[in-house]
């Protein structure tokens, strides 16, 4: 097909798709009139049942925790897949990593940026940690916290310390941390099986009252492991591309 033919063909097809979608939308109850019953049932039970005041986290890490297992492994697999796809490039080069960040001529290495970035590393890491450990109470959780933790590593790079970045995140160690995060999550679930409970059953004490830091049993623990997994996976993904970007062929 030429580009023009394709565009016409697509225009007709897309009109059909839009017609289908509009037809479907007429069957929805209308914006703002969610009919239930799934969400309402959860809203009714969740806080009392899990002692988590953040109901979304309760769903992600308990009611539909099994989805999250799959989700974490999607991220895990994507990071492993990137290592596979990009590994040959690394091998082809046969050169030691060059710290290009130090020799860049663009003003990114100006000391102002450097200082600002380094100053941000600490707070960013703390913020990530805080988010990852407050899944049960606030609109946050392992995922968001993990991504922010990973961005602390990017800040290290922005500060011009690529070699530091490499030292902080050698591939093998990152892989191990990632595996510990994802594997730890599943292990929490498997521990339930060892106690002859269903997989991912919340077997830990729920804490005295909803909303306490120590409340919600396995939810907080799972969120913690998810945070580790996500932080490692994103760091690996970014590191993989950084290496690709920075290494120059000899």
């Amino acid at each position: 097909m030429t580009a023009r033919q394709r565009l016409w063909f697509f225009a007709i097809a897309a009109a059909g798709l839009v017609a289908c979608l509009l037809w479907a939308f007429t069957g929805l109850p209308g914006f703002g009139n969610y009919p239930g019953p799934y969400g309402q049932e959860i809203l009714r039970q969740a806080v009392a049942q899990t002692h988590a005041t953040g109901v979304v986290s309760a769903i992600n890490f308990e009611y539909r925790g099994f989805d999250t297992v799959g989700e974490e492994f999607i991220l895990f697999t994507a990071a492993a897949g990137m290592s596979v796809v990009l590994r040959r490039l690394r091998k082809e080069r046969q050169t030691e990593p060059v710290d290009e960040a130090k020799t860049r001529t663009i003003p990114a290495t100006s000391s102002a940026v450097r200082i600002a970035a380094l100053l941000l590393v600490g707070p960013t890491a703390v913020l990530g940690w805080w988010l990852a450990s407050h899944a049960q109470t606030s609109p946050s959780g392992g995922f968001q916290g993990g991504v922010i933790l990973a961005s602390a590593f990017i800040l290290i790079y922005l500060a011009g310390e690529f070699l530091t970045f490499r030292r902080l995140s050698p591939v093998a160690l990152l892989d191990a941390v990632e595996a510990a995060g994802a594997g730890g999550f599943v292990a929490i679930g498997l521990a339930a099986i060892a106690m002859n409970l269903p997989f991912l059953d919340n077997y830990l004490p729920l804490g005295q009252y909803p909303g306490a830091i120590s409340s919600s049993g396995t939810i907080a623990l799972i969120s913690f492991f998810v945070g580790i997994e996500v932080a490692a996976a994103f760091t690996a993904i970014i590191g993989e591309l950084l290496e690709q970007t920075l290494l120059r062929s000899a």
């Binding site: 609109p139 946050s140 968001q144 990017i154 970014i238 591309l241 970007t245």
Partner: protein
């Protein structure tokens, strides 16, 4: 408490902005500009999710859609561009 009418207007405004944002992202053919557009689009989505009362998703969309993905894209573009030169 925001009145229902104001909320409605706010939602429609953000929705229209999101639709426009998606169009701009798709129509932008220059790589770097498209990434910038994507980042802004991610921001708009995050705002939309906030008005949809979904702070959890807002935070994810901000960290991923508006920050992490653009960074990953920029790195990939830098990589590709270096070779194209």
């Amino acid at each position: 408490m925001i009145s229902a009418g104001l909320m409605n207007t706010l939602q429609v405004t953000v929705l229209v902005l999101v639709a426009a944002g998606a169009t701009v992202v798709v129509r932008t053919r220059s790589r770097i500009r498209q990434v910038l557009a994507l980042s802004v689009y991610g921001m708009l989505l995050a705002i939309l999710f906030l008005v949809f009362q979904a702070p959890d998703v807002t935070l994810s969309e901000l960290t991923v859609g508006a920050i992490a993905l653009p960074i990953i894209l920029l790195l990939a573009i830098a990589k590709v561009r270096k070779r194209e030169q």
